[in-house]
Symmetry: D2
């Protein structure tokens, strides 16, 4: 395999990228001068060096010194320690944080548990979640912030059953009309929730 095909092979692993687009990426790199490739290589190297994984919430964050173990959110004492929001991935945490509505702490599961998965423990950071919960005695509510689909619901169910003995409230994000949705195209479940959680 030559250098073009070898790099295309690696790009094909990127989320949402097929063989054709992978090839286009390679030709794009070839069309740019050496500086761009150098910059890209340096940025990939820096990623692993400058980005640490937070000991508490498990998300990736820019770490100014190599010994740092807590991200900016987990090391912020002013947040509400009675709430822990569990999200599937880093990018979901970012989306919620950007909405500006939540002021508690987070935990990034690292994935979801698909239905019929035999070894759910290998798909999500269930042990890390356990230590995170045990460590903080203030937590009263665990918000299971999952995608509104089957895998999301299954993951929430799995976590709830795991911790059912603990004196914790488990909540889920409210269902209803997402921005842009028209009544005509909304499913019965969404309409039911939209009615039940109507705002006055």
């Amino acid at each position: 395999m030559n250098a073009i095909d070898r790099l295309a092979e690696l790009f094909k692993n990127f989320p949402g990228i097929g063989p054709r687009q992978a090839k286009r990426f390679v030709y794009y790199l070839l069309s740019r001068d050496g500086n761009y490739s150098d910059e890209l290589i340096k940025a990939i190297q820096n990623l692993k060096q400058e980005i640490a994984q937070c000991n508490e919430c498990q998300r990736h964050f820019p770490s100014t010194n190599s010994g740092q173990a807590l991200c900016s959110i987990c090391s912020d004492d002013t947040r509400d320690s009675s709430m822990l929001m569990v999200v599937p991935r880093d990018i979901d945490l970012e989306a919620v944080e950007k909405s500006g509505s939540y002021k508690g702490y987070y935990f990034v599961l690292g994935g979801v548990v698909p239905i019929l998965e035999k070894e759910p423990e290998k798909r999500i950071r269930i042990k890390e979640l356990e230590s995170r919960i045990k460590k903080n005695k203030n937590i009263k509510e665990i918000i299971l912030a999952m995608n509104a689909n089957q895998d999301g619901e299954h993951t929430a169910e799995f976590i709830k059953q795991k911790y059912q003995g603990l004196p914790l409230i488990f909540s889920a994000l409210g269902r209803g009309l997402s921005t842009g949705i028209e009544l005509e195209y909304a499913d019965p479940e969404t309409l039911k929730n939209a009615f039940l959680h109507r705002t006055k």
Copy 2:
């Protein structure tokens, strides 16, 4: 204009139909035998004869006798007369009714009021809504069940301002995650509402 083009011209008025599909409809009719066209003509004639518009909610309904003025929902005494849900169109009423969650009465506006519309009264049945509200002294809550977009919000705002003097509670369908939505693709407004209306 020949008979093919004339009929295509009429089909072009159908919602979502362009000139090419209109033409395909005509050729489809030509490909079927005379019975199908006869059935279609009869069904269109019956529509106007058998379908009445309800005096109360303004929706279209199959009327068994020509003098009938109330649809099956409006003539059902067991429903909750303290609630009136205002929806844009017949099809929206159908969607909510199918969800099985709502047991009050309805009112079909017949459209929405787009932003910057100078004559909102011509777009929606505002007078009919007024008489509907005045007629029933039991109504305590008006649920403005609009599409989760700009026009929907504007229509709700217009109705609320119109009746602000009346001793009525105005509510809106709950915003949140619609079925199928992933956190990553949800807008800040939706995420904010999903968090605020989280379920325990």
Copy 3:
């Protein structure tokens, strides 16, 4: 079934129309006044009365007097009687005629023969094609103008084998780059033909 559902059921047969859009068509008719429905009914009635099927090419055409049996193309003596173009449907004939490049006669098959079809004779007007060919002794070339897909190729193959004894040239529409196609996305077959049929 009420008049709304009955009409929606008929609209669902229209090409490309699902249950939801069929329902929207019905509500659209209800939202228009009686004149529109009357016009629509009249246009459907006129279709069968004013549109005849051509005895020669089998296409539908506006017939000014009820006894007329030939369409404007088939009754045009100035066209080139040495060529007969066989197309799947009326709408394909229209597309070719609009391109202004062909001056021979046509024959509308009324469909295609899918691969593995056991009774091809029921899918296309093979007998009518036979009489059309036998009737005109001038025909030298049959242009099998099929869609550039499997069913199209199979239909062409079927017709060719059927008439292989006859002293006729069978041709097919040229393959190559359609307007808008980029080399990168063209399949090998298309590129091969585009090269072989390059223009100087």
Copy 4:
């Protein structure tokens, strides 16, 4: 800007990649272990080291020794030296070569000349094309293999005018029905060409 955003910024330059997908690429890299990043970095480094640009056709090719100046096609004496196919980009050359129909030589322009472009020389390798043509006295036909769109046609026109004095035949890829195209959706230009270049 932190290391995540910096790398996302670079990925955003990749063809067809928006800010959201660029971010997902970064998180994907973070989710993989260090080996994958190392492999990726090595593959990008190798690209520039192992891939050379051919002196003749200008395409990128895997060069086994650093001094090599001709790609495998240009150094293949058995190909037809009377034909030179001019293609916009490396990936187009690959597509044509895969179709197995062409046995002459190539030249990669490096882009196209959009309509109204004031400095066409900066967009394509026009000087390199000139030396390529002058160098080989055998060339009789230049095949301008452009995309079947406005920019493609404009680029072909630009090249033809540039060299109109030379004793060369300029040809273009044949237009016609691309694989998968249905007559009904073909434009008049495509149908006209499909008829003119019909195959017997």
